[in-house]
């Protein structure tokens, strides 16, 4: 057992910022807006650092996928007590298309490369609320997963986990290596101390990886989403599911297999939200 833990940290718009939609409606304004580490990722980092302090694991490696600025997020993780950082450089158009599927493929590849014993992630990111990366990563690696964890304890080569689920609390025991996603009540993240900030920034142990066909992090970054405005509808249209499914397929949107497309059709004040097609 390498005793190494990979912690995924995502740079997101700060939770307290008032979100504004871009004038061209293609997304939200991110330029000049305060960003910080996803709160659930902070909880994941804290848990990893705690495990290291209890000497149950040996090394905490913080990973972030994104543009140059993701290094700030890694720095915060280092200041909280992570040993090393890995920045997977994804920028521009690729970054816009970066979603849970791609990130989980990257994490799976890194986990093999780093011989990780455990992957700790936040349960979801507060910008997209996907709640998919942890689950997908576990599936790709064929590892057990403990999601929505509110308590984690290591017992030899097994992990005792308490999960927060709709029905209450679930107690499970899983083998390592495993993927765990942190829920809100797992812990309270510490403040970085001034000495830790200085140490972490002086040592600057962040590697840069570029995912392309030459490296093991070869991940297809094809777009999975297309945003379209709804057509103007006449009154009296039959809104049954079958009718609309037909309309969508007929409209010939280039749908990739296994992608999710969500439509919301509105006429004036009445908006009908459809599920997936």
């Amino acid at each position: 057992m390498s005793g190494r833990v990979l912690v995924g940290v995502k740079r997101v718009i700060d939770y307290a910022v008032k979100i504004r939609v871009k004038p061209d409606n293609t997304g939200v304004v991110t330029d000049g807006v305060k960003h910080s580490m996803n709160p659930f990722c902070e909880i994941a980092v804290e848990e990893a650092v705690k495990l290291k302090e209890k000497k149950l694991i040996k090394e905490v490696v913080a990973v972030s996928c994104g543009p140059q600025q993701s290094q700030e997020t890694i720095r915060t993780a280092l200041a909280m007590g992570a040993d090393r950082g890995i920045h997977v450089d994804v920028s521009g158009k690729d970054y816009e298309n970066l979603g849970p599927l791609q990130v989980s493929k990257i994490l799976a590849a890194l986990a093999k490369q780093e011989d990780a014993q455990l992957i700790l992630l936040g349960k979801q990111a507060i910008d997209d609320d996907c709640n998919q990366t942890g689950q997908m990563t576990a599936a790709l690696l064929d590892w057990p997963q403990g999601t929505f964890a509110s308590e984690v304890s290591l017992e030899g080569d097994k992990i005792n986990l308490v999960r927060e689920i709709d029905g209450g609390l679930e107690h499970i025991k899983i083998n390592t290596p495993a993927v765990i996603t942190a829920d809100l009540r797992l812990n309270t993240p510490r403040y970085a101390t001034l000495p830790n900030i200085m140490d972490s920034l002086m040592n600057n142990e962040t590697e840069l990886h570029k995912p392309n066909h030459r490296t093991s992090l070869c991940v297809g970054l094809i777009p999975l989403f297309e945003t379209v405005a709804p057509e103007d509808m006449q009154g009296g249209t039959d809104r049954s599911g079958a009718m609309l499914r037909h309309t969508v397929l007929q409209s010939g949107l280039g749908l990739h297999t296994r992608s999710l497309v969500v439509f919301s059709i509105g006429i004036g004040k009445n908006k009908t939200k459809l599920g997936t097609v």
Partner: protein
């Protein structure tokens, strides 16, 4: 109480205004320091600042938490437990902490100044004996210069220290001592070679308009014996040490004013966007728009001057004393006006203690008076300008 929570949530939204953003031009390291300080202020201080003010609580536990993060001896050397940072780093940190509670941050800055004085002018034994406990805030410090008869005219102080064997016997009294009576280490400026009861006692706790989260008392010495080993520097060097300490202290106090103004601009801005009169939000009123613009401009100007002064002091530039005085003079005056204007923009609500803006006004009013009155600042600056050398 709900308003206080609203206030601490507001602290985060503040930073998204690019024009008044406090982190421009900072290094990555400084941005991290600032982030920790803002987070600490919003989570640990802002929710309690009204209670600390009204109940006059000296928040020992919160300050010790701050010390654990390294805020107890920010510019004290690491070999005795300090964080070893620069004056500019310090200014950034105090500015951010002040948005959580000016009074508590101002006391932390005084504590830092005392720790620094012992660190810089003390000998090996003194540094090792006092600094670690001060940096961790295991012990708290007070700076005793002002007397009932000597405020601005500090050099005329009367507290005497008469040598008797390996002790100095202190006689006299100090006034307006922040933390007095609740702190453990007193850095006292006194006159050796003059005349001089039975020890140290304290006057009554003063009732103040602001700065209520730190107690203020007179400190009275009657034949108080202090070991010679506790003398910092040489005999006669004290005035110099006191003044050097004040240069940094002035930047720190000005930084505290800055944090308050920064928070007040945010509060005013948010109020203008919400409050409606004459059928529209106040933010549509041109006078208020212009007033807010002026406030933001003065805020940024104050910040730049303070950071420049911090740099000058760090580099020990020849103009350091003058520029520290300029920064203190300008920033404390302008930031008070900003907070006052912000209160005015709140209308009647600004006058209620349920709203944080009045506490900022009350807390920073004294910054124009202590650490050298703004009149004394003018003296220092004009002297510097008119000197022949």
């Amino acid at each position: 109480k709900s308003l206080c929570y609203t206030y601490s949530a507001l602290l985060f939204t503040y930073l998204s205004q690019p024009t008044v953003i406090a982190s421009h031009g900072l290094t990555d390291e400084q941005k991290e320091f600032q982030k920790v300080a803002f987070d600490f202020a919003a989570n640990e201080m802002a929710p309690h600042m009204a209670e600390w003010d009204q109940k006059e609580i000296f928040p020992v536990e919160t300050m010790r938490k701050a010390a654990q993060l390294g805020f107890g001896g920010i510019y004290v050397q690491p070999d005795v437990g300090g964080s070893g940072l620069s004056r500019l780093d310090t200014s950034i940190i105090f500015e951010a902490l002040s948005t959580g509670c000016v009074s508590t941050t101002a006391y932390i800055s005084i504590h830092n100044m005392c720790a620094w004085m012992i660190d810089s002018y003390g000998n090996k034994e003194q540094r090792e004996k006092f600094c670690p406990d001060l940096c961790s805030m295991e012990k708290f410090a007070s700076y005793c210069l002002t007397e009932p008869g000597s405020g601005s005219d500090a050099a005329s102080l009367l507290t005497s220290a008469q040598r008797k064997g390996d002790h100095y016997i202190l006689n006299g009294s100090k006034a307006f001592i922040s933390g007095g009576g609740d702190t453990d280490v007193y850095v006292v400026m006194c006159r050796t070679g003059g005349k001089g009861p039975k020890g140290i006692s304290f006057g009554k706790k003063e009732k103040k308009v602001g700065w209520n989260s730190q107690p203020t008392r007179a400190v009275i010495f009657e034949d108080c014996a202090v070991p010679v080993a506790n003398r910092l520097g040489e005999e006669g060097q004290g005035f110099n040490i006191a003044m050097k300490g004040l240069n940094g202290g002035r930047i720190n106090i000005a930084s505290c004013s800055l944090g308050a103004a920064h928070a007040s601009v945010q509060l005013a801005r948010d109020h203008l966007l919400v409050r409606k009169q004459f059928g529209e939000t106040l933010s549509n009123n041109q006078f208020l728009q212009f007033k807010l613009a002026e406030m933001a401009t003065k805020l940024v100007a104050s910040r730049l001057l303070i950071r420049e002064a911090a740099q000058a002091l760090q580099e020990d530039r020849p103009d350091a004393v003058a520029i520290c005085s300029m920064a203190k003079l300008f920033a404390t005056d302008e930031c008070f006006n900003i907070c006052n204007q912000a209160l005015q923009m709140h209308g009647g609500y600004g006058y209620l203690k349920d709203y944080a803006v009045q506490q900022f006004v009350r807390d920073i009013r004294v910054h124009q008076i202590l650490e050298g009155t703004n009149e004394v600042m003018r003296m220092i600056i004009s002297r510097n300008l008119l000197s022949e050398s």
